[in-house]
Amino acid sequence: MGALGPLGKVAGHHGRWVLQVGLYTAAGSLSSALVGFLLGAAGQALGMGISPLWKAVGVVWLLALLGRSLGKLRFPLPQWRRQTRDVWAKRFSWEAAAALWGLDIGLAFTTRITFSGYWGPAGVAILLSRPMLGMMLFLAYWWGRAALVWTAPLLFPSAAATPWVMDALAYQRPAFQALHRLGLVAMIGGLILQIVSL
């Protein structure tokens, strides 16, 4: 998003930045909600979710993703190795470009995935087979993704700090990996809580 407009702390551009990130977040919320709803509906159509057994299958799936993340298991996961289109920023107004980026990235399946944990909410949405829950799961996932953009004014205290912050963020990749694993563990805990509270 930084390529589209100035960061929130840059004098005189705060309003534009907020509008741009707001459009990005709102558009991504639409596409994420749709994907989550459709995955839940697909699970429902396949007859999943009726038995608590499907929640146990979800735990196994999340454990497999965790094992893959830790390098203990190796199995392929499909992903489309593309990034969202930079050219939209040149072809359209910045408002339209921000919304298009949000719509595109919110679909999640259409762009490159950093960590395999993405397949956690996707699998759980299908296995729990509740379209509204699937929608909420994907909205939560998207809002987590967009939240990192919203923190940019905190991360970048001034334009002069940008090189330091970019370096610092690059060094945080192991932290993001650790948080990603913790997110999978938390999701496993959430499913187990659902099983025992039946």
């Binding site: 990034q83 490159r112 995935i113 950093t114 960590f115 944990g117 993405y118 956690g120 909410p121 759980v124 829950l133 909420m136 799961l137 994907f138 939560a140 996932y141 998207w142 809002w143 987590g144 993704r145 967009a146 939240a147 990192l148 953009v149 923190t151 905190l154 991360l155 205290p157 700090a161 330091w164 912050v165 370096d167 610092a168 963020l169 060094y171 945080q172 990749r173 932290a175 993001f176 990996q177 948080l179 990603h180 913790l182 997110g183 999978l184 938390a186 999701m187 805990g189 959430g190 499913l191 809580l193 659902q194 509270s197």
Partner: protein
């Protein structure tokens, strides 16, 4: 001026670390507490955390 070129990055690293860890752990904490009343909240906060880590990009 002294060694200010060294202290700047160190300060930024701590700030970045605080935000990178603080935001998702805060949301997860709220989700875990909220799940005592609404079990789905733990799943949703975990999904938020997974989305946060995806935001760093490839």
């Amino acid at each position: 001026m002294g060694n200010s070129w060294k202290t700047g990055p160190a300060v930024e690293t701590h700030r970045v670390q605080g935000i990178v860890w603080g935001v998702p752990l805060g949301v997860l904490g709220i989700g875990v507490l909220g799940s005592l009343r609404e079990p789905e909240l733990s799943l949703l906060s975990a999904a938020f955390m997974l989305g946060w880590t995806q935001g760093v990009g490839p």
